[in-house]
Amino acid sequence: MTVATAPQVVAHPGRPLLTASDVHRHFEGLHAVDGVSIEVPPGRITGLIGPNGAGKSTFLAVLAGTLPATGGTIVFDGADVTRYPAFRRAREGLVRTFQLPSEFARLTVLENLLVAAPNNRGDSLFGALMGRRYWIDDERRIVRRARSLLQRFGMSGKESDYAGNMSGGQKRLIEIMRALMLEPRLLLLDEPMSGVHPKIVLEIQRYLQDLRAEGMTILMVEHELHMVERLCDSVVVMAQGKVIGSGTMASLRRQREIVDAYLVG
């Protein structure tokens, strides 16, 4: 993983899974993302850090398409997805989670996972009108997969509870599981540990390490630097909408301007 401030992009060995070039996002006069260029290599966890207001979450939203870019290009696995709406990027495997819990509160935990699963014949008006027999095989397959995820994340006993009744940490897990149901090729996590009980933080950390071991590519916004150090193979530092550095945490700690800007203490 390498990054640089726009417009240069430092090359990496192997083809990057995602390349953002000179990406901008302006709100009226505010340049929340101001010419950011990064490359995300496959099979690694890349951290995105920076002070509050650095534009990290905005950048993540622009990558996922939940906010359109004002300028620049985003190439995902060789395809220019800059103009794709969010739902299409998700279908392509570019899946995000949110900074604030975004569970579907009045759906059960299991339904929160099922709803994300692609390739269900009942998930269209035609399929629905054809009746249960038309889609039940898909549904059973998806339920099996969702249950195996729930088991892996230790939430099997909660599958029939409303997601809105879960704790903050459990909602985070639901969101990660929901994203995994889409079989993402790149998982964009927006502060997955924030507001979470320390015990669940450790669980999330373990799950993310497991996912990396399985070859999942993750780009993660995170404030907790020790967590970033433990989890991330490389880190991008943003401040005031720009990338101010990149590399491993150890190398970043040696860069005076980055330490001054963000890593103090």
Partner: protein, 323 residues
């Protein structure tokens, strides 16, 4: 209770059930606050009327309208349903694509008011404020509408439509597609982030709801044989919303219960209040006050309604400790 009164009550109940099932799909399941619902019922009714009426030169030319095709049953009913769906396309394209849900509600309310005003004042189109009268009842050329048998037939036809609509909405609501609708209702941006296209889902729901609303209007106009702007003022939509809120948002049987409790039961019950006291119009005005209080009361004390949306528990789920 004579046959006519019973048939009247049952047909109205059927029409209200159909309308509430459609509105429940839009509002209860998908979260679309369609304050112009009554317009879709009205367009179905007008379409069925002009498809079944003779040309406006008939009957001494006392009313002016376009069309007058004298189509046989069931074409007017099918036409009414199609018209409701067709109207949903441009309205949905304008309202549902860009606006936030609260602004959608306002835009749809305004649409309802504007449409009613336009039809009221543009007389050559659908006979203005006087509306369309002498709409031929379905199959009236084969069975005398002024017989008990015809009343039973009309109730049966309405019941068939109720069953069909119930099957359709039940299939949709209880399918994976219905789950996507509920997810969109809960958090649209998160639904989008997992690959759902909210505009497509909303448009589909809006069109399906429009078709069903149009059918309900077609059934009603065939029975009461007249249709005028005064019967589809925007507060009629509020009554249907009250029914959904009372019955239970997101629950089809709740929508049926709400239709029986509010537009049918509540309105029928208040009809028997003596009108001899107070100034003229006091009791009808109090009916509206009562509807408002009913909505507020339920939202305050029982927001999920009499029959809340069911929790979907899947086969083989671990036993839950709580209900």
């Amino acid at each position: 209770m004579n046959t006519y009164y019973a048939a009247n009550l049952l047909v109205y109940a059927g029409v209200d059930i159909i309308a509430c099932l459609a509105l429940n799909l839009q509002f209860g399941v998908s979260g679309i606050v369609n304050f112009s619902f009554i317009v879709f019922q009205a367009v179905g009714a007008y379409t069925a009327a002009v498809l079944s009426l003779p040309p406006d030169s008939a009957n001494g030319g006392f009313q002016i309208y376009f069309g007058g095709y004298q189509m046989p049953f069931p074409i007017p009913w099918v036409g009414g349903a199609i018209a409701g769906g067709l109207l949903a396309i441009p309205v949905g394209m304008v309202v549902l694509r860009k606006l936030r849900s609260d602004y959608q509600a306002i835009a749809l309310l305004v649409l309802s008011i504007i449409t009613n005003e336009v039809i009221t004042n543009a007389r050559p189109f659908l006979n203005g404020a006087a509306g369309l009268a002498l709409v031929p009842p379905p199959l009236s050329d084969q069975i005398d509408p002024n017989t008990d048998a015809y009343q039973y037939l009309y109730v049966a036809l309405t019941a068939v439509c109720v069953v069909l609509v119930f099957i359709v909405v039940n299939r949709v609501v209880n399918s994976p597609y219905g789950r996507s609708m509920r997810a969109m209702r809960e958090r649209e941006i998160a639904a989008m982030a997992i690959g759902k296209n909210p505009v497509q889902i909303k448009m589909t729901v809006f069109i399906v709801g429009g078709v069903i609303a149009g059918l309900s209007g077609a059934i009603l106009v065939g029975f009461i044989q007249l249709w005028a702007p005064s019967v589809w003022l925007y507060p009629e939509t509020i009554i249907l919303f009250a029914a959904i809120i009372v019955g239970g948002r997101g629950n089809n049987t709740g929508a049926i219960l709400g239709a029986l409790l509010v537009p049918v039961g509540f309105e029928e019950a208040t009809r028997f209040i003596p009108t001899s006291f107070g100034p003229p119009g006091l009791v009808p005005a109090l009916q509206w006050v009562a509807i408002g209080l009913l909505i507020i009361g339920f939202l305050w004390f029982r927001p999920d309604g009499v029959r809340p949306e069911p929790r979907h528990v899947f086969e083989g789920a671990p036993v839950q400790e709580d209900g």
